[in-house]
């Protein structure tokens, strides 16, 4: 275990009756990092968080906090405050009493806990609402109360379970920067569970992507986005074009794959373990790394003839939807300037091409 590790999951498994929610999980959370656990519903991300909080006991394996096993500790003996999706603010207490609650449970004197609570209310810019009923606050204000309530004990780690899912889009973006700044200023380790790619990628230092109780990939947002490790991740992120075929030739520097859409090559430093000839291989290329041309480009390695089936504006860029002769959909994302000279009428025949170094092999499973 490394010196800067705060939490480690060692062979952790969680079963509910016959259903395995989390399968043999090994990973570490570093001190002071903002870690996002992402996946679609039912992937085990919330169960993972709840095991860390002590709200579920692992069926097997060990969870360590600062090196000490915490499996046997009930949640009220851990310092792992959590922010709930529903926020779980106490409706029978006012804002101040909600924030003071955890301090009261620690036996802090009244004057001191009032002062500490007000500090955090002030920091979250909700001091003026201190004596209000929780029900009288807006969604964003309630969010800040929930954060203040969890952070008032100045913990080493804060667990967040989709805390922004109830907010509207504009408020969500604002709260994202509040959260990110808060994490940077306090240095508290944040573990943030979400199904939203934009939330995870905009805030987190590292992202854990889960599917069906299994960790598919752990890495920085750039690493995961640039090189999805598995087909699931590539699909889930939705920003890669995916091709599957048989390996024709494989060497340390180059792999050629025969796909229904043509012969594709990948190479460069993207081959930790080169596949063998005859294997089935799946390769991906980001929609931003693909290029379009009217005539067949010369000298390019990966060329796929396509027809335009649609176009979508996404702010500064546009996504062009194309179809190969075999009906395989390919997306190309470009700035409006880059697309300016191209005929993009529906049915127009074009060529998609990209460099072998922009392709990546992914694991099927």
């Amino acid at each position: 275990m490394q010196r800067d590790t705060l939490v480690s999951f060692e062979g952790v498994i969680k079963r509910f009756g016959g259903f395995t929610a989390v399968q043999k999980m090994d990973f570490e959370i570093k001190k002071g990092e903002f870690l996002a656990i992402m996946g679609s519903s039912g992937c085990g991300k919330t169960t993972t968080l709840r095991m860390l909080a002590g709200l579920e006991a692992p069926s097997e394996g060990t969870i360590r906090l600062s090196g000490k096993p915490i499996n046997h500790l009930p949640t009220w003996q851990r310092d792992t405050p959590m922010v709930w999706q529903s926020l779980a603010l106490f409706p029978f207490l006012n804002v101040r009493e909600n924030v003071e609650f955890a301090l009261k449970m620690r036996g802090m004197a009244k004057a001191e806990r009032r002062q500490r609570a007000e500090q955090w209310l002030d920091r979250m810019q909700i001091l003026e609402f201190a004596d209000r009923n929780v029900a009288q606050l807006s969604g964003g204000q309630r969010q800040r109360v929930a954060l203040a309530r969890s952070l008032v004990v100045e913990p080493e780690i804060l667990l967040l379970d989709e805390p922004l899912s109830a907010l509207d889009a504009a408020l969500k973006v604002r709260m994202q920067s509040v959260l990110k700044n808060l994490q940077r200023e306090t240095g508290i380790t944040f573990v943030y569970v979400t199904h939203s790619q934009s939330e995870a990628f905009s805030m987190a230092d590292r992202v854990v992507i889960m599917s069906r109780g299994v960790i598919e990939q752990i890495g920085t947002p750039q690493e995961i986005y640039g090189a999805p490790r598995t087909r699931f991740v590539a699909d889930f992120l939705g920003s890669s074009n995916i091709f599957t075929g048989k390996v024709l030739a494989a060497s340390q520097s180059m792999v050629e794959v025969e796909t229904p859409d043509g012969r594709l090559a990948l190479g460069g430093g993207n081959l930790p373990i080169p596949p063998r000839q005859g294997d089935t291989a799946t390769l991906t290329v980001l929609d931003t790394k693909t290029h379009l041309s009217v005539s067949r480009p010369t000298g390019a390695a990966n060329i796929v003839p396509v027809r335009v089936i649609g176009e979508e504006f996404v702010g500064a860029t546009a996504t062009v939807y194309l179809e190969t002769a075999k009906g395989h959909e390919i997306r190309v994302q470009k700035s409006h300037d880059e697309l300016a000279g191209l005929p993009l009428d529906i049915g127009q025949e074009l060529f998609v091409h990209w460099a072998p170094t922009d392709s990546h092999l992914v694991a099927e499973a």
Binding site: G54, Q77, M82, S86, P91, F92, N94, F101, N133
Partner: protein, 285 residues
């Protein structure tokens, strides 16, 4: 602009209106009127004389009975609430869904038999040569005289109200948001403390309403204080029957009944206000 009363609307609202007038407003009005009648030579005469109110309110025995009745009903409410809470708590939080349905069903079973029958059967248990004393005798204890004591009255009151209090508490506890309990645990609030810090405040309205029902049921109860309590100390319900028997004093009995209704209205009003006081917190500002 209000719409004129239509025949259609009247068809459906009329039965309710008639029912209300016939069985609530008229009897109550009659009771009020009756309380001003006078009795001479064992015969009642319609009158408008406050003498009954003056006489009853001037009698120490009336105020004694009033105090006894309020104290007994209040004790019963407190006792029933305290006895019921662990039960309703366990049913809510410790049982599986199907076990909870069975427990609720079992709570309904006591209502299958008449309350009077259940009180009579308590006599068999509590009398000097009753089942309880016989069993205690095996261990060389007793006999204790239990029947005709305020304690026996309380046993009767619990028979009357406990299942209902448990059910009412249960229905407020099951609606508690479980994440609130988890959140409390997560903030270092242990199990027992969570009951006082989160569960009871969350279920406050239901718990108060349950206690209120117990108060209403026991405040006017005649069966337990007579058949288990032996009529001593005298409660207002016993005082009413005594008053009607002695010299046809129906008007004075009406005074007692109206005082009871007034008391119950006041208690119900205060209880509901108290129940919702927590929710109004901060709303005034």
């Amino acid at each position: 602009m209000r719409r004129a009363i239509s025949l259609y609307g009247l068809t459906f609202s009329l039965p309710l209106l008639v029912w209300q007038l016939l069985f609530f407003v008229f009897p109550l009005a009659f009771l009020v009127a009756l309380s001003f009648w006078t009795v001479k030579n064992f015969t009642m005469r319609p009158d408008f004389d406050p003498v009954n109110w003056v006489t009853m309110f001037g009698k120490p025995v009336f105020w004694q009975a009033y105090g006894t009745t309020v104290a007994l009903a209040a004790s019963a409410s407190a006792l029933a609430s305290v006895l019921a809470f662990p039960c309703s708590y366990a049913i809510t939080f410790k049982l599986s869904d199907s076990a909870r349905r069975w427990a609720i069903f079992l709570m309904v079973i006591p209502f299958f038999t008449s309350y009077l029958v259940r009180v009579y059967s308590w006599q068999i248990f509590l009398s000097d040569a009753g089942i309880v004393n016989v069993i205690l005798g095996w261990f060389g204890l007793g006999p204790y005289s239990m029947l005709n004591t305020p304690g026996a009255t309380m046993v009767g009151y619990m028979t009357l109200s406990l299942p209902l209090v448990i059910l009412l508490q249960l229905f407020s506890l099951v609606f508690i948001d479980r994440t609130l309990i988890e959140a409390a645990h997560n903030m270092r609030c242990g199990r027992l403390r969570t009951v006082f810090e989160v569960v009871i405040p969350s279920a406050r309205v239901g718990l108060v309403i349950a206690a209120l029902f117990c108060f209403i049921l026991t405040f006017g109860d005649f069966v337990s204080p007579v058949y288990l309590g032996g009529g001593d100390p005298t409660t207002l319900s016993i005082l009413i029957t005594d008053t009607t028997k002695s010299g046809q004093q129906w008007p004075r009995a009406a005074v007692i009944a109206l005082t009871m209704i007034g008391t119950l209205l006041a208690v119900a009003f205060l209880a509901v206000r108290f129940a919702y006081a927590g929710q109004a917190k901060g709303a005034r500002k």
